[in-house]
């Protein structure tokens, strides 16, 4: 599903060269639930941006669902993000002044898909938010907003669900709820999930934990099922 081969990423911050990723090899198979862990500065945000096709690697190859996306232009990357990746962000990132239902419809609008209403309601139902479809983000709790965001990520039926610190802005109860939901989506629907976090408690929900340090993979543990 995801295959990274010797991926590096170098930034220039002014005149200072920053090597965020120094050669990452990583394979994530279909149906896996992987947590990528690391302290701040370990390169995990950069890795997430590359996996999420928000950015392209400086060198190396990145195959997503058998497509090499390392050399695509902005509009092609946008299309890949639309169809193959579902984002779940730390700060939910729902569009303000827009109902949960319409937020969930948004990726389908950009994809030019018909039948949006039915698919969006199905996605909201899958995360237990069908009764809140007509509410705007400000009328929802943090946990509810994150559920709506997960519904938006799922609605295009993407190859992977990419969750970046999805519980970072939630209390413990809501965090557990969201992580259980992700676990359930992985087990029951076979969703491939890549989770970025720095909290071991959260990473513990995943079946595999990849640890990053200074732009390199330093640990890769699979938990016995």
């Amino acid at each position: 599903m995801i295959e990274l081969q010797a991926v590096t990423k170098t930034y220039w911050m002014g005149k200072v060269e920053v090597q965020a990723l120094r050669g990452i090899d990583l394979v994530v198979d279909e149906g896996e639930f992987v947590a990528i862990m690391g302290a701040s500065g370990s390169g995990k945000s950069t890795l997430m941006n590359i996996i999420g096709c928000l950015d392209v690697p400086t060198s190396g190859r990145y195959l997503l669902d058998h497509t090499d996306v390392a050399k695509l232009d902005d509009d092609r990357l946008a299309a890949i993000r639309n169809r193959k990746i579902g984002f779940v962000f730390q700060s939910f990132n729902l569009i303000p002044r827009t109902t949960a239902l319409h937020n969930v419809e948004m990726p389908l609008i950009y994809a030019g898909v018909a039948d949006r209403r039915r698919r969006s309601i199905a996605a909201l139902t899958a995360v237990g938010m069908a009764d809140r479809a007509g509410h705007q983000p400000t009328e929802l709790s943090g946990g509810q907003q994150q559920r709506a965001a997960i519904a938006r990520a799922l609605v295009t039926n993407p190859a992977i669900l990419l969750a970046d610190e999805p519980t970072g802005n939630l209390d413990t109860a809501s965090s557990t709820e969201i992580m259980k939901l992700l676990g359930q989506l992985n087990r029951e629907q076979g969703r491939t999930i890549v989770l970025i976090t720095h909290e071991p408690d959260i990473a513990a929900f995943a079946g595999r934990v990849v640890e990053l340090r200074d732009g390199l993979v330093v640990g890769d543990r699979r938990r016995a099922a």
């Binding site: 509009d75 002044r97 950009y110």
Partner: protein
């Protein structure tokens, strides 16, 4: 992304900042309504001028003396020489060489203070011949016009226009009354029916007397001059032939072989109309251009607000890009938002401008001033709306492109 969706987002964005959207629209609204109103005033002035020129009489041709040349050929101004004579008028009336001229009349102008009882008024006194009502298309409302007998006898009789009646005779029947022009007594024998038209060059502000009486009692040392000859052609189609015939006769009579040296000049009503129309068109364009400046200012207001909006919504743009919005999708969204702003402002501006134009004639102060009735033209409405939407497009492109080119990672990080 379809246009309907873009419109929905645009209206959502505008409603979220109602006051700001309204103020931005106000800039375009004022500009468009100014264009509509000022162009309507220009059109109204053009219609008014046309009516006045048409009220000069149908198919009329004016003959003026050429500008007198002083020493060294310096022109002394329009109609300053006295080259036209009563004999010229008689020759034009003979109709032997000018079958297309129905009648020609002499004009001798004399200004003067007119008094009746304790009222006084200033109006030009025109000395002419009996064909005046026919050539200049005046109807007699009351009494009668003077006769050839009156002309031969130099009788001090006048026929006056409605404006003069209104100013001198409050409720009195003017026919039979004696008025004084420059302290000379004249008897009013008739009143012209009003021709309408107000302000400058009104055709109702006239006092007409036999030309012989004007020469004898009013012209003073200017003697028996004819300041102008007015001829009327048999129909609109024969005006140019009649002009040629008049030119031939007068050149012959004045013994001038080179037409460029003619001591007179000819102008038809159509010539005047053409000139007046070109002036009115220029006036309308100038008024429209002045109003157009405010439209540009309104457009800059839109650009400013769109830049603010893009900055405020950077994060939203980031989210949209992360979930698959392409460059084109974001560009369309913000362009449509700018065009909705300017288009709405334009539509409201058209409504306001048209309402002002329609209401202006009903304001007493404006109605009585002789100000032209504004005429709202459909092309100016369509143009104003098109231009306002175009302004949204033009001034929206830069902010929209700035939004569309934002990098998703940086946009998402924006707080």
């Amino acid at each position: 992304m379809n246009v309907f969706e873009a419109l929905r987002i645009a209206f959502g964005g505008l409603l979220a900042n109602r006051l700001r959207s309204a103020l931005t629209m106000l800039g375009i609204l004022i500009g468009v309504s100014a264009v509509i109103l000022l162009v309507a005033v220009g059109n109204g002035a053009s219609v008014q001028i046309n009516n006045q020129i048409q009220s000069l009489g149908a198919n009329v041709i004016f003959v003026y003396p050429a500008n007198a040349k002083g020493a060294g050929g310096v022109s002394q101004g329009f109609g300053t020489s006295q080259t036209l004579t009563m004999a010229d008028v008689d020759a034009l009336n003979s109709r032997q060489q000018d079958p297309d001229v129905v009648a020609a009349i002499p004009i001798a102008q004399s200004g003067g203070q007119i008094t009746y009882s304790n009222q006084n008024y200033f109006a030009p006194t025109t000395g002419t011949s009996t064909a005046f009502p026919q050539v200049r298309d005046y109807q007699i409302a009351e009494g009668s016009f003077f006769t050839q007998d009156d002309v031969l006898a130099q009788r001090r009789v006048v026929v006056i226009g409605q404006t003069v009646v209104d100013n001198l005779f409050a409720g009195t029947d003017p026919v039979g009354q004696t008025i004084k022009i420059n302290r000379q007594s004249f008897r009013v024998i008739g009143v012209f029916a009003a021709k309408g038209g107000t302000g400058f060059g009104s055709q109702d502000n006239v006092v007409v007397a036999p030309i012989t009486a004007v020469w004898a009692y009013l012209s003073g040392n200017r003697g028996k001059s004819v300041s102008q000859i007015v001829a009327s052609a048999s129909s609109a189609g024969t005006v140019s032939q009649a002009e040629t015939e008049i030119t031939t006769i007068l050149l012959q009579r004045h013994q001038i072989s080179d037409p460029s040296q003619a001591d007179f000049q000819i102008q038809s009503q159509q010539d005047i109309l053409t000139q007046a129309n070109s002036i009115a068109t220029a006036l309308t364009l100038v008024l429209g251009a002045i109003a157009g400046i405010s439209l540009v200012v309104g457009g800059i207001g839109i650009m400013n607000i769109m830049l603010v909006t893009v900055t405020e919504r950077t994060r939203e743009i980031g989210i949209r890009k992360a979930i698959g919005a392409r460059w084109r999708d974001v560009l369309t969204q913000f362009l449509i938002e700018a065009m909705v702003l300017s288009g709405l402002g334009g539509a409201l501006g058209i409504a306001l401008g048209a309402a002002l134009a329609f209401e202006a004639p009903h304001v007493p102060a404006i109605a009585s001033s002789g100000f032209p009735t504004p005429v709202v033209s459909v092309p100016s409405v369509l143009l104003a709306f098109g231009v306002s939407v175009g302004i949204g497009l033009f001034f929206g492109i830069y902010p929209a492109n700035r939004a569309a080119r934002l990098h998703p990672i940086e946009a998402l990080r924006h707080e």
